[in-house]
Symmetry: C2
Subunit: 221 residues, 2 copies
């Protein structure tokens, strides 16, 4: 049986790297992608995702999910809450959208089953775990069992970045031949600047540090 | 610590019985309820729920979830699909809303954590299991673990009806002193008739058979 894969694609570095990981593994013709408009600060990230999918000939559907904003308040979806630059030790950052990956992957699973797709791909990553409990590997494995029981279906959740740090994620993009695409065309910055970003928010800091580390490793080989 | 409970309340027999089970167990002042407007055929069920909560002084919030209808098509949410009277052996009924309890309980959990509530109450029932995989006890237990991992929180999901048949659910309502309320003021009928129902749809058939069985048992004691 030819397996088909659905990528949860936000338009950021991680999920876009996963998109190319999936086309490499499953074949471009067997990959489609889904995104969620949940009132995030920068809908531009969805436009980044849509543009890349259009160029690659990959079907991309964006599902409106205002409920995520309705259920809990946080700095990613509420303009009146500023993003913390620093956070108290041991607490999750105030960009936490409670249950976000739980809902995204549940929606993706329902959508996938409806379209005869078994394989789900997500860019969650425990290595860069910064207090988001739903990025942990144990959560993803538990969710995989729960989804299979919920719908009596054999989903397989793939998390190609789970144990990579940001530098290794850049390395993966390079191996897949898409380093430039990821660098120039994805949005990670909390201030909404595509590509290099603002350079000062926490997301830009992590992204740049990983990139520099990878380039140093690469150039020293 | 005083525990608080959130009841997933649709306005049908099962969830309304659970509402009174929860007020009996936790105390009325520690119970609130949540419902979902997902494009079901009969929104009247939500009005039934709201009316009962208003009389009991219980806070009831209805969350719009059009996404459930957007992700999969079925007879409960689409007027152009008639409800099957009979179904092929071994297949779920075409009233199946894929992943419905998965989403309802995930939403309830996010809402509960936001409000400092740990205990979730749902009327799902494996005994009357008619092909809905997300009514099974093993699914609920798996979901409980997944939710706790997703949000790093100690949810406890209660399923007071899990192993009761419909006759025993009527018995529970009677013991809780709300047999009349459940009989007259809840909506189970697929044709939208509150209380006794149309008498001919599968939901009315099961409800009435359970009621008659319980009455016979009660009167023979």
């Amino acid at each position: 049986m030819k397996r088909k894969a659905l990528v949860v694609l936000s338009g950021g570095q991680d999920s876009t790297t996963c998109l190319f990981w999936a086309t490499d593994k499953f074949g471009r013709e067997n990959v489609c992608a889904i995104g969620f408009d949940y009132g995030q600060r920068h809908k531009k990230e969805l436009e980044c995702a849509a543009a890349i999918c259009a160029d690659e000939g990959i079907q991309y559907e964006v599902i409106p999910t205002p409920i995520i904003n309705a259920l809990s308040a946080n700095a990613l979806t509420r303009e009146d809450i500023p993003v913390d630059k620093e956070k108290p030790e041991g607490t999750p950052p105030n960009t936490l959208v409670e249950g976000r990956n739980l809902l995204f992957l549940s929606y993706a699973a329902i959508y996938a089953k409806t379209h005869g797709i078994t394989d789900l791909v997500t860019g969650v990553c425990e290595t860069d775990f910064s207090g988001y409990p739903d990025c942990r590997d144990v959560f993803i494995k538990s969710l995989n069992v729960t989804l299979n029981l919920a719908m009596d279906y054999n989903f397989v959740i793939h998390t190609p970045l789970m144990w990579l740090n940001k530098s290794e994620t850049w390395e993966l993009a390079d191996k897949l031949g898409v380093l430039e695409t990821i660098y120039r065309r994805t949005l990670t910055c909390y201030n909404g600047i595509i590509g290099e970003g603002c350079g000062s928010c926490p997301a830009c800091f992590l992204r740049k540090r990983g990139y520099d580390e990878y380039m140093e490793r690469k150039n020293n080989v």
